[in-house]
Subunit: 311 residues, 2 copies
């Protein structure tokens, strides 16, 4: 099954302790697509300016990403410049130029309107809502968000929550949104506002998947070399929702596997600048990392598995 993503198509300039890259492919929709394309066909909706190096999108097209929804607007493309210090935990934003992205109004092409899986990457919740007004009966809608929208568009965000199946956000954003320090309480607060699932991303500390009656946790893979953390969250989302779209299976068991595939793709994304590693990683490498995740957390109890503990 195919998957629609609406988000940013940007140019990043990134400096890490290991090197720097200038004007490389970035933005939530690019990272998400590069990751999800390993699982299913991807349809992208976004906007670029006259200055975007479109030929650099060719590898994504070859991987099955359909750019029929990529609008070319007159002006500059979205550019972000950031730096990571030695601990790689948080990006320091040096410059943000929204360019044509500041007037972005997503237009979903006719042939994209019946896409069964939809990911609303981190954009203005009013735009995320406008996408939902243009698509027809999707099987699963997931959205991301960020601190800026939580602060400036809170009512819109909460209205959006009533119409999505799943919310992905990081731990700091979950605490900011819900005003609850405890992530169990924070997830419940969000679940009470509509979504059936909440994914709380904790960066190098892994991710939680909460539903009304279960909780699943996947660690981040303990990599020997994290090169550039940019895009890890969107690559996680791409693997996660890409896996669900491929399987078409929304059971608890499938959701758990999907989180692991998401974590695997996030772990590849940080091994190189931009989407470099996501473009070259093979199916065998992805499967091997999923097995490594299993080895990382697997343990056998000596205890009988009780029926009541299986929820």
């Amino acid at each position: 099954m195919s998957l629609l993503v609406v988000g940013s198509v940007a140019l990043d300039s990134v400096e890490t302790p290991f090197g720097k890259a200038d004007n490389v492919l970035g933005g939530s929709a690019n990272f998400f697509s590069a990751s999800a394309s390993h699982f299913c066909p991807v349809r992208l909706v976004g906007v670029i300016g006259n200055d975007y190096p479109e030929h650099q999108l060719e590898p994504l097209k070859k991987r099955g990403v359909d750019f029929a929804g990529l609008e070319r607007a007159d002006g500059a493309s979205f550019r972000w410049r950031g730096r990571y210090r030695h601990d790689l935990n948080s990006a320091e934003t040096l410059e943000t130029h929204l360019g044509v992205f500041s007037h972005f109004a997503p237009k979903i092409p006719d042939q994209f309107r019946r896409t069964p899986f939809v990911f609303l990457a981190n954009i203005d919740p009013r735009l995320q809502m406008s996408v939902l007004d243009q698509v027809e009966r999707p099987q699963l809608v997931a959205c991301d968000t960020m601190n800026f929208w939580i602060e400036s568009r809170r009512p819109d965000l909460l209205a959006l929550f009533e119409r999505v199946d799943m919310v992905l956000l990081n731990d700091g954003e979950a605490r900011q949104l819900t005003e609850k320090t405890n992530l169990v309480h924070a997830s419940r607060w969000i679940l009470e506002r509509g979504p059936k699932y909440v994914v709380i991303k904790k960066g190098e500390h892994g991710a939680f998947l909460f539903s009304r009656d279960s909780v699943f946790y996947a660690p981040a893979y303990p990599l020997e070399s994290v090169f550039d953390p940019t895009g890890a969250g969107d690559s996680f989302a791409g693997g996660f929702i890409g896996y669900l779209a491929r399987s078409g299976d929304l059971s608890e068991a499938s959701m758990r596997r999907a989180v692991i595939y998401g974590s695997a793709m996030g772990s590849f994304a940080v091994e190189q600048f931009s989407i470099g590693r996501l473009l070259e990683v093979t199916r065998e490498e992805i499967d091997a990392r999923v097995r490594a995740f299993r080895q990382l957390t697997a343990f056998e109890t000596e205890l009988p598995e009780l029926a009541e503990s299986r929820t």
Copy 2:
């Protein structure tokens, strides 16, 4: 099999957003013993002053903790006063009075010298070493440490590492000691200095167990109410090494289970002030939480398990 712990027997005064407790049982040896006593007989070596409320140790004695190695010295007991802010992540130390603990020189009673499992809680590495000079052929020796000793007693600590099987420390301490940000690199640095196992504790983000050829990760349990984080690390150690002492099995499978039992005991410790919850928790509750940990991280892959991924 029995288990020897050498560490502090203190009085804590703690303030959290949920309440405060004054002069309650604290110290690494108390938390460790309360936790480990659920798995095996525990032998404690420590020191208290004239002011210690000894009757409050009765519940630990009833749980099988042998206090034959508890020295009574003339002076004040070790007292710590601390406060946790809303996020509960780090303690703010308001007062530390070492009292008789500042002259502590562990004397291992004759009947304790052949204890097969030994835990050297966080004390001066020179004292930890002196314990090793007094015990005979233990099957497993584990030690904890802290930033203060890493800074002030580095050569002693590294000499100690050559004589222990396992080091437990938190992520900040691992980075400080090894000057490596990446925890995979940090663990390797420590493993190269003697220990066969390194446990890196990440508080609310779980714990890693590294050996030369494997890595295991256990999350912290996503509790709805963390009441007081004091002693979580020592309670983890008590469950971890207590489980190993009970099973006498140091295989990879057993070590992994032990980490989960440690994580379970750490999760109980934080549910009340002091060792309150550790004294009352039942075998059934411990087993139920171990099952809950399994539910928290369990997933089935659709992939065949390859032999090479089993290392």
